[in-house]
């Protein structure tokens, strides 16, 4: 039984079939890179996993738990979805930090709100909040933001914002952390600092799905690479297989274009 199993996911917006028939599996501790040209459906797939889009067909399973089944209305209830979302974390291209909160508050907020649902929250309020704050501080230190905890997002660089966003997602301990082009809004220098953080997470065997246009990074960090094209998985395999020995014409063409543009 795979850690994550995605079966025959389909999604269309109006007339456009964005995802045609997507199936793949991944194991705990794996890092999956998703590459492909813009509009190939990578982001939509990630959004489906995070229940920001509802697939028109297919199933998503985690272990033996069915998270989503287009044929089973019980898996589509709003309340259920909220809980299932927590299996996944999502880091956005443009961070989406909450501007009115400090870096630390951004990391703590969702955890605090969840803690309120605990039955012992009222009696142990002080201690629970203290713990949440300590963990949030620990994560921000891990992200190299020890001096920035009390800064507001507008006082931080893009790279710092993205690292706060990563800490915010990590603080909910998702089973799989997803990145939607995490460096596309950053200049090359800031890109480096964010990629370094993601690489460190990979070294700690964090299970991750990374949608990216950074080919070198996708290849280095991943244990598995998916090349998507026109709503389909065109090629899937180890980084060596996909990057050095692609079988599909489309993959070769994409990688060639990429290399010739980056000389």
């Amino acid at each position: 039984m795979a850690f994550l199993q995605v079966e025959n996911i389909r999604k269309s917006f109006g007339e456009t079939d964005v995802l045609k028939d997507i199936s793949f599996t991944m194991e705990q501790g794996e890092v999956l890179s998703m590459i492909g040209s813009s509009g190939s459906g990578k982001t939509t797939l990630l959004r489906c996993l995070n229940f920001l889009e509802k697939p028109d067909g297919g199933r998503i399973l985690m272990g033996d738990e069915v998270l989503f089944d287009a044929a089973d209305a019980r898996t589509l209830r709003e309340k259920e979805i909220r809980k299932k979302r927590l299996h996944f974390g999502l880091v956005f291209q443009n961070f989406n930090l909450f501007p009115q909160y400090t870096a630390l508050q951004n990391v703590m907020l969702a955890r605090e709100l969840l803690a309120r649902e605990q039955s012992d929250y009222k009696t142990n309020k002080q201690r629970i909040r203290q713990e949440i704050q300590e963990q949030a501080e620990g994560l921000l230190i891990q992200m190299g933001l020890k001096d920035k905890m009390l800064n507001y997002p507008h006082q931080l660089s893009g790279g710092q914002c993205q690292r706060v966003a990563i800490a915010r997602a990590l603080n909910l301990h998702p089973d799989i952390l997803c990145f939607d082009e995490p460096t596309s809004a950053l200049d090359p220098e800031l890109t480096g600092e964010v990629l370094k953080v993601i690489r460190e997470l990979a070294d700690k065997n964090t299970t991750m799905i990374i949608v990216t246009h950074e080919m070198g990074f996708a290849r280095d960090v991943a244990s598995k690479v998916i090349f998507m094209d026109d709503g389909n998985i065109c090629e899937m395999g180890t980084p060596q297989q996909v990057f050095e020995n692609p079988q599909q014409e489309r993959t070769k063409q994409f990688l060639n274009n990429y290399t010739s543009n980056n000389l």
Binding site: R82, N94, N96, A110, L114
Partner: protein, 232 residues
């Protein structure tokens, strides 16, 4: 010239007392309008953003009519329509009746303006804020109150301030149904009141009241705007 100044000095205590009284009514209309229109505007804005199409279009049409016609006409219609057309004086008599009619017309008119400002404030928040809340497991209520509300308030303070300043001056329109606000009080001295007649300066002097009150409001609203400057 000296004679005129002397005359004004003699009239001043009487005029000031009268203008103060009128300005009291002006302030009452101002505060009652705000107290009614600020919350009603939020209700109307939810209507105009409703996913239920008929409600949405009905609300937007209503807002369009109110915003597209002069407040003065609305005041006249609200005040005279029940009595003269329906033959039923629902407002009651005297100054209290005029105030009720004026307050309701003002509340509805301003609520429509506020509703459009609220709508802009809510719809202007990037969709990513809601999505970030969702993937962090927040409920829709938590997303509205913990994520969106402050951002909305920050966005609407400048345009709402504008409307509030305009409202101060718009209260004078209630003169058209003889509400005894400050313009009415000043004008009385032209026609003759308390032994003073043919005096135009009291009417001009009312401008000072508006100016001072708007100065105070601008200062307070500016402070509020600054307070919200801690984030962007």
């Amino acid at each position: 010239m000296q004679e005129l100044l002397q005359q004004i000095a003699e009239q001043l205590p009487i005029v000031i007392r009268s203008l103060n009284e009128g300005f009291g009514q002006t302030l009452r209309l101002f505060f009652v309008t705000l107290a009614g229109a600020l919350p009603l505007g939020l209700v109307i804005s939810f209507g105009s953003m409703s996913r239920f199409k008929p409600l949405k279009w009905l609300t937007r049409m209503f807002v369009g009519i109110i915003r597209g016609t002069p407040l003065m006409i609305q005041l006249l219609i609200f005040f005279y329509f029940p009595g003269l057309v329906l033959k039923q004086n629902i407002w009651g008599s005297g100054e209290a009746g005029r105030f009720t009619a004026a307050a309701i017309a003002f509340i509805i008119n301003y609520a429509c303006y506020f509703s459009e400002i609220y709508r802009g404030g809510i719809q202007g928040i990037p969709v990513g804020q809601e999505e970030a809340g969702l993937v962090l497991g927040m409920t829709p209520g938590q997303i509205f109150f913990r994520v969106k509300l402050m951002q909305m308030i920050k966005r609407i303070v400048p345009p709402i301030s504008n409307e509030i300043i305009t409202l101060v001056k718009d209260t004078s329109l209630a003169r058209i149904i003889s509400l005894q606000e400050i313009i009415w009080a000043g004008q009385a001295f032209m026609k003759g009141s308390q032994g003073i007649s043919g005096a135009i300066w009291p009417l001009f002097f009312t401008g000072v009241y508006y100016l001072v009150w708007n100065g105070v409001l601008s200062f307070l609203l500016g402070r509020l705007e600054k307070k919200l400057d801690y984030f962007r």
